[in-house]
Each structure stands twice: as structure tokens, then as C-alpha cells.
Symmetry: C2
Subunit: 385 residues, 2 copies
């Protein structure tokens, strides 16, 4: 496929290069079979294609399939492999090819997404349910990659800040959602696979969510930013991990929150601060909200819960009581019925019941997936402020 994407660039260059001459090799590259992938057909079935003359086997895994399921492509004329999958419900998906067993993005699809250390190709199946995840013709908020000082972690660190459409030209102050990623992710996760900025753009445009800032931090207390270790610290292993525990939650409330409130036009009280997170970030959300009661008036825990089966539940109940006393406007818990964290999720629900902390629980199909986390954000953000 080197030839195919290469020719696209060449054609563009030609507009400008005008009289520059092409080599025979370049012309032949432009004549290689043009491959379209993915192609969404009229009935929302999807055809995937990849050009390879030398490959023994090509398979595909998509986010609509099981985590380790693969589907074979078959080789056709001109060395183009293809497979058509049954009509898919309108939504956002991602997928990888396996070229003789090696995971690869679809080189004819320029839309790739990063999920921690992995890359996958984007598939958007159009229709009503995809609209909230798409870049639509609405006003857009801005995303800033912001470096801020973290005295707690002893380093400058990076976060992403979404400011809603109109923020720059307004004099208004806004509420803030602090939105946390899971294990293996970083400050880029909620905008890359999570699409938080587009979800907010679309919900704000349709009047379903209020304009708000969204602050997406890096929850790995050993990193400065995407995949970058803080110099001089040990890598997190079973042995070194305990030294990092609780540090991120402290830095979130004591470093990030004051920075945002000093540098952005935001409303500085608990009724205009929300905190939500997925998986590990849900754990961070639980810890930060009970350790700092009265700080966040809205709390969302996605695909998470109380991970430690040996946690001191009496001690924790006291903390949840203090949180309840501080006044919580909304405590929302969501989990997929097949999620491997279901036991942890149940521990959280049980303590909420015991404490009498008013909450809502949403359970849907599926497991520990970005499809669920995007859905949860699109349900939770309209409940805010």
C-alpha cells in the first residue's frame, strides 16, 4: 500500500510542482490498484480491503467483535484482500488488520486513533447514533495542551483543556468537568479514542449539555506527559507501585484545580465542579471525592469501583458519610454487564447503599470498552450543572 498513499501525495505535489517531471517508478506507483478501505455500503455493511501480493493470511479484529476474535480476509484479483461484515449499527468503531499475525493499522484509512501505546483505524458507521461522536457542522470548542507546575509530583506536567465554543469571545465564567482516563491511557486518551471534545461540541450545540470546560489530566503519577517518565523516578512495577498510590488524586485537587481556577474563567464552587473517570480513573474519582469532600458536586464512576477486596470498609464508609454530608448533587455509576470489574463495581454500589448516598446506576451490554465510555460520557455530561 506504500504505492497508494504515496500516489495521493504525489498528485497533490503535482498541482504545485507543475512542470517537475516524474520518474518512471513514480508513474508506475500511481498506476497501482487503488484500494478503498473501509467502505461503508448502502445497508451499513462494511467492506475492508488491503493490497498485499506476498501475504499468507490477513485477518481483522474490530471493536464490534470479541476482544480476541478475528475474521479472515480473502485474496482477490490484483492482490487485494477483502472481507465484508454484516450491517453494523450506526456508531463509532475502531479496528486493526493482522498481516500474517502482525497487528497493523489500515494504511488506506488516514484516520487512526491512539489508545495508550496502541494505534487503531477509525470506522464511523453513519446514522443517528454516530452523530454524537462525529465532527459535525456545529461550533467547535478548542483543545489546549497545557503544561502546569505540580508541586505534589515535583515536576511540570501536561493536561488537555477543552474550552467550549464561545469561550474566547465571552466574559462569562463556566463550570468544569475533570475527566480521568484508565490504566494504559494518558492525557490524550479522552480526546483520541474518547472523542470527549466532539461529544461536548455536539451535546452543547443541541442544547443537551451546558457549555463547560473539560480538563483531561495524566493520571499516571510517574509520567510528565504522554508516555514520558518523570526523570529520576523508578518505572512502576509491583514493587515500586505503592510509592505512587494516592499521589495523582492529591495532585489533581491540590495542583490542577487551583491552576485551572487561576488561569481560566471558571466558577469556583463544588456545584460547578464535576469529577468523572473510567476504570483506573474511576478509582481516582472515588478516592479524590472522598478525600476532599465538598470539592466536587457531581461524580461519575465508569466501569470501575472499589478494586481492593481487602479495603477497610468501615473506614471507607466513614469517608462516604462525610462526602454525603458535604452535599452531592449527582452520583452516577455505570458499568457493562460483562465487565471484568463487576465485583469492584458491586463493592462501590454496596457502600453507596449502606451510606444512603443517593445515586443512579446504569448497566448496559458489553464490557471494558471505549464504546461504553463514550456512551457514558454522552449520558453523564447532560446531567451536569
Amino acid at each position: 500500500m506504500k504505492s497508494s498513499y504515496f500516489s495521493l501525495t504525489l498528485i497533490t505535489i503535482l498541482f504545485f510542482a507543475g512542470m517537475e517531471s516524474l520518474t518512471a517508478q513514480e508513474i508506475s506507483a500511481m498506476q497501482a490498484p487503488r484500494v478503498v478501505s473501509p467502505e461503508v455500503n448502502g445497508d451499513n455493511s462494511v467492506t475492508f480491503r488491503i493490497f498485499s501480493e506476498k501475504t499468507n493470511e490477513v485477518t481483522i479484529n474490530g471493536s464490534w467483535m470479541g476482544f480476541r476474535e478475528t475474521l479472515p480476509l480473502t485474496k482477490g484479483e490484483n492482490g487485494v484482500w477483502s472481507v465484508t461484515v454484516d450491517p453494523l449499527p450506526s456508531s463509532m468503531y475502531h479496528y486493526n488488520f493482522f498481516i500474517d499475525g502482525v497487528a497493523a493499522i489500515d494504511v488506506t484509512n488516514p484516520h487512526a486513533l491512539r489508545d495508550g501505546t496502541r494505534y487503531a483505524s477509525l470506522l464511523m458507521v453513519p446514522g443517528e447514533d454516530a452523530k454524537v461522536f462525529q465532527l459535525n457542522d456545529t461550533p467547535h470548542g478548542n483543545i489546549s495542551q497545557v503544561w502546569y507546575p505540580s508541586p505534589t509530583l515535583g515536576t511540570d506536567r501536561r493536561m488537555y483543556v477543552y474550552t467550549p465554543p464561545g469561550y474566547n469571545s465571552s466574559t462569562e465564567s463556566y463550570p468544569v468537568l475533570y475527566l480521568l482516563h484508565g490504566a494504559g491511557g494518558d492525557e490524550d486518551a479522552w480526546t483520541s479514542l474518547g472523542r470527549a471534545n466532539l461529544i461536548l461540541d455536539n451535546l452543547i450545540a443541541s442544547g443537551k449539555a451546558k457549555p463547560m470546560l473539560v480538563v483531561m489530566t495524566n493520571g499516571n503519577a510517574w509520567q510528565t506527559s504522554t508516555l514520558r517518565q518523570i526523570p529520576g523516578l523508578p518505572a512502576p512495577t509491583r514493587e515500586t507501585f505503592p510509592q505512587y498510590q494516592g499521589k495523582f488524586e492529591k495532585s489533581l485537587v491540590e495542583d490542577v484545580l487551583p491552576y485551572i481556577e487561576e488561569n481560566y474563567r471558571v466558577i469556583r464552587d463544588k456545584d460547578h465542579r464535576a469529577l468523572a473517570g473510567l476504570s483506573m480513573g474511576g478509582g481516582h474519582t472515588i478516592t479524590a471525592s472522598i478525600n476532599y469532600p465538598g470539592t466536587f458536586g457531581y461524580i461519575g464512576v465508569f466501569s470501575s469501583g472499589i478494586f481492593d477486596a481487602n479495603a477497610d470498609m468501615e473506614e471507607m464508609e466513614k469517608k462516604f458519610q462525610a462526602l454525603k454530608a458535604s452535599g452531592v448533587n449527582k452520583y452516577w455509576v455505570a458499568c457493562g454487564e460483562d465487565d471484568f470489574v463487576m465485583e469492584s463495581n458491586k463493592r462501590l454500589l454496596s457502600i453507596l447503599e449502606k451510606t444512603g448516598l443517593e445515586h443512579e446506576y446504569f448497566e448496559n451490554k458489553g464490557g471494558h470498552t471505549w464504546a461504553n465510555w463514550r456512551t457514558y460520557l454522552s449520558m453523564f455530561s447532560p446531567m451536569l450543572f
Copy 2:
């Protein structure tokens, strides 16, 4: 390799999941051979590795090699393919594997870069020359993805704005470099493969460049943003292209420049505005600077020139005379000796000579490559303001 990156995430999840139990399949995935790639050896030779039991052939192309050259990997024990390349000079590189002929990023290397529609894996060979392209332990500027109205193109569009370290806490006004990408790129190009933000961070930290804003626009007049067509417009082809010509340059000066000067603390005169671009962006730079004389006091043209061999050179000379009369502090031209745009570059140099517009020319080895464009930016930005 699915197993290898998967296990990393699993290990991290384990810290948090604590008591959650793993399936036999997950445990077996964690026991697959761990592959390190790329590995920079003591002498700066580099070993690349990829795990694949079923592949017939694996090759690699790196940015230190010819554009179409490939080097074979050889299969070792445990299905791990590898190759070691001779010591490389300290610098930043990128590379792709070809798995039975199919281009792929290195799945064990989490650092991937986007170049237009393509993805490649990052290789940093440490040493003095890599330092200017690395994330060092210095203060960092912020990058914002900013949507702005473009009356010229009839749509909201997106640009990236770099604000230097200290911008947020200062009351000072700053100069601005408008930095343009080439054909096939977009507003993301100068920060992804170009590393403009890190180059500026490092040069500002060492006192070699003045603190400045860098504004990186989308030069494709048919797009709103990365790979997104403006709704209702025809795709650029040989036939439709003329309708887009000159539009971007107009929108740069008439839409982008006023937006920046209204929304950021910047100095609003030609002596504090620079314009530079690579390839197609160099063409945009030439056109915008001669069509709006007195707007930009510093001009950089990288790997570019006057593409149209049939251009009306007399008409153009008049425009260059007007530019000269408006007062240019620095006109800097750079090109690789093997670059396919050399004829265009020579046409530009010849008109600069004819006009007597004082300029500097830098020619180095190599061709139309990001290695050269990063070098040119690291040479040009210290000349500014």
C-alpha cells in the same frame, strides 16, 4: 505483537484490579516473548525487532535511507525478526516495517508520528544533534487547537497555536511566526513530524531564539481541519484545483492574522511578524509575502520556490520590488542539493538576485525531507525578531 502491548496494559490494570482474576488466555499472552524495538545500542547502531511466526518477509525503510530503499530483517528463534543498522548520527528519524510488503508501524514502539495520511514510528538517536528535537527538562510552551472563522473560505477552520513558556503568567506582547506545511500535510504536520513546539522550547530555553508565538494553519483551502473536507466543495483534482489557488494565502492574511492579533497578546507590526513554509507552504509564503508587502518582515522559504516555469516573471519581479520597498529584515531560502524542487528553488533565487532583494541561501545534503525541514526551522527561528 498483540500479546506484548496487551500484557503491558494488563500489568498496569493489575495494580488497580488487585483481586480480579486473569483468564488462562490472558496469562499466556503475558508470557509471549517480550520484544524491544527499536533498541539503540552503545555505539548508536540500532536494532529493530518484530515478532511474527507466519510472515514470509519483513523489511524496513527508515528516514536515514533512500525513499524506496528497504533492508531485510532475518527471522530468529521464537519468531522474532531483527536487523541491526550501522551507527547513525545523533538525530530524530522515523521508519516503517513492511510485513510481506504491507507498510506498518512498529507495534512495540508506542511513539508514532503522523505525516499527512501516513503513520511512521519514531527513532531518536541520542546525542548533541537530537537534543533540539527532544522533549527536554526545560519549560514547555502550550499548543492549542483553535477554531476560527474564515470569511474568505466561508467556514470555521482549525489551526494550532504555540504559545511560549511564560505566556500565561506574563503581560508582555510577543512576536509571531506563521509556519506553513507542505502538500499532503495539514495543521498537525509541523508539531507531529516537524516538532516545531519542541524545537522552539529548546531554542528558547538555551537563549538562542526569542520567545514567540508559532501559528500553524491548514494550507489546504478545501479543508476545515485535518483531513476534513469543507462541506459542499469538490475534492481537489486537476480540474477543480484552480478554484482553490490563492485562496489560502488570502485567508491567512485576511482571516488568520486579524484573529491572532485580536485574541492573543502579540505585537502588531511587520517587524514582529515572520512567515515561513516548506514545499507547498513555501509557495504560499512567496505568494502571501508579495501580495501583501509590508505585512511580514521576516520570510523563510524551505525546499520550495517558484513552481510555475511559465510564470510571468516580469509581473512577479514588480511584486518582489514592492516587497523589497516595504522593508524586509530577513529573507532566508534553504534547499537540499538533491531536492526535486531545485529548479523551482533556482527560479526564486534568480528573481531575488534580479530584484536585489537582500537574502541568504543555505544548501545542504538531502532532499525533500522532514529531517531538512526540522533543521531549517532550528536555523531560521534564531534569526527572528
